[in-house]
Symmetry: C2
Subunit: 284 residues, 2 copies
């Protein structure tokens, strides 16, 4: 999905928010905003939102010198999610359809996104909503069929804390998973360290995609990751950035996400606040 003009204000907000997470003083914030304005002015028409966000967060890193502005926020999200873990496991255990409950919980965790907005809604409220709301895009049956036929699944992680919700889905699936995170920090996206803090070691094979770009920008990924992607019979891709980079890639990719912004909503054709299990189209 290419960036829309409506994304530009949001990019600017995101750059400013990231600079504050990095502890920027007002002069540094102004420098980040001015460089971001200049970058947006010269943007090629075909750039995708994650590619642009990648460059904006690079500006923040250069101006402020902080390698991981969202470190504390990520730790706090993981802590919050782990506190809910025992109760969520119990819900899956008691569910008449454990896979569906675990799938919904993984999507509920996608609210933990510090790119789409500066903060996220109360987790408990979001969980109750997502456990009962109808799907805006519902390719669940196709996903379950694909999983039935697969010997493993490649799981593309999104944010720290959301990792705990993914852990519940991974623990509920009956086939092995490979859990792909970012190599180094970008926004609040999960790295191997965040996956470990969420307790994912031992229950899945954690790998990184070799990049610190949001979503999955395949041309930037390592050869090992690309081979794993190509060999995977099914791919579960979490969150908006993975939707933006993979919605036109391969029908074996299923995007699991909450629709958090009006641009994605328009692209999908479903309302903000909606939840989706969406099968990717082939690259046209």
């Amino acid at each position: 999905m290419k960036a829309y003009l409506d994304c530009y204000p949001c990019f600017l907000r995101q750059a400013l928010s990231a600079s504050r997470h990095a502890g920027a003083d007002p002069q540094q914030q102004l420098a980040v905003v001015r460089r971001s304005l200049s970058l947006l002015e010269k943007l090629p028409a075909e750039a995708t939102p994650p590619e642009i966000a990648y460059r904006l967060h690079g500006i923040v890193r250069e101006e402020i010198g902080a390698a991981d502005p969202y470190r504390q926020a990520k730790k706090e999200s993981t802590r919050q999610a782990l506190a809910l873990y025992p109760d969520l496991k119990e819900r899956v255990r008691r569910s008449h359809d454990p896979i569906d409950t675990a799938l919904r919980l993984s999507i509920a965790g996608n609210i933990i996104d510090l790119g789409a907005a500066d903060d996220y809604d109360n987790l408990e409220k979001v969980i109750e909503r997502v456990l009962s709301q109808p799907f805006a895009v519902d390719h669940r049956r196709r996903l379950l069929t694909a999983l039935d036929r697969a010997d493993h699944v490649l799981f593309l992680a999104d944010n720290a804390g959301e990792t705990v919700f993914d852990r519940i889905l991974i623990e509920t699936l009956s086939i092995p998973t490979v859990y792909a995170v970012k190599k180094s920090p970008i926004i609040n996206d999960a790295t191997a360290n965040d996956a470990e803090e969420a307790g994912l070691d031992g229950i899945t094979t954690v790998v990184d995609n070799g990049t610190d770009a949001p979503g999955t920008v395949l041309p930037l990924c390592t050869r090992e990751f690309i081979e794993a992607f190509e060999a995977a019979p099914v791919v579960i891709a979490k969150g908006q950035a993975n939707y933006e980079t993979l919605s036109e890639s391969d029908p074996k990719v299923f995007c699991l996400l909450q629709i958090k912004c009006p641009v994605i909503a328009r692209d999908i054709g479903a309302p903000v606040g909606g939840i989706a299990v969406l099968q990717a189209r082939s690259r046209s």
Copy 2:
């Protein structure tokens, strides 16, 4: 109030929204956004939000060639408000405190703002909220005392449609008013034409301030308007843009507004969604 960095994303949203109101095609929208980015990059630190908005809307006018992009939106807002007018008059008539009810209705009408956001909430819901909610800033007593001592009041209008709600307050006040509108169109701000459509002719003296800048940028106003401003014993200034341009001017100015954005909220020290009757400070 000078512009904060947090205003920049909102300026960009506003320029894009205005270009669409003006019927811009995608190429024209891109041109408006790029010129807006360039303008924001070179902004002097002391610029106020209405001054910046003024220049951005100038870009829209130049690129699209539309003199009044919000013409239809303004007509529709006035039509909506006029449909509510008989019921609102009846509420004031039955109120045990007609001035307070009329004051609240004038503030309720301030929701009709196509600068602060691309759309506004359902009018009837907003009216019920504002009629009963506590004031976030409550200088009502000072305003009423000032009105008691005054022989007339200068009323600085904000948006078309909001004019109908102001009409109810003007009809309830026991002293004559002068109602100042914009000379020519900017966003959905009221002009003399909009005031006439709201039925204000005959019940107040409609004047214009000589500008098409949002808020009241005194150095841009005509000599006649400045003299009227200086001679007025009390000034009622409607909306955020008047707050931004007049909150530090003269204690005879009372800002009546709904707090619709986080930057204004922080500047005032009250939450978004709050309502205010706020006495201006002297220029420091």
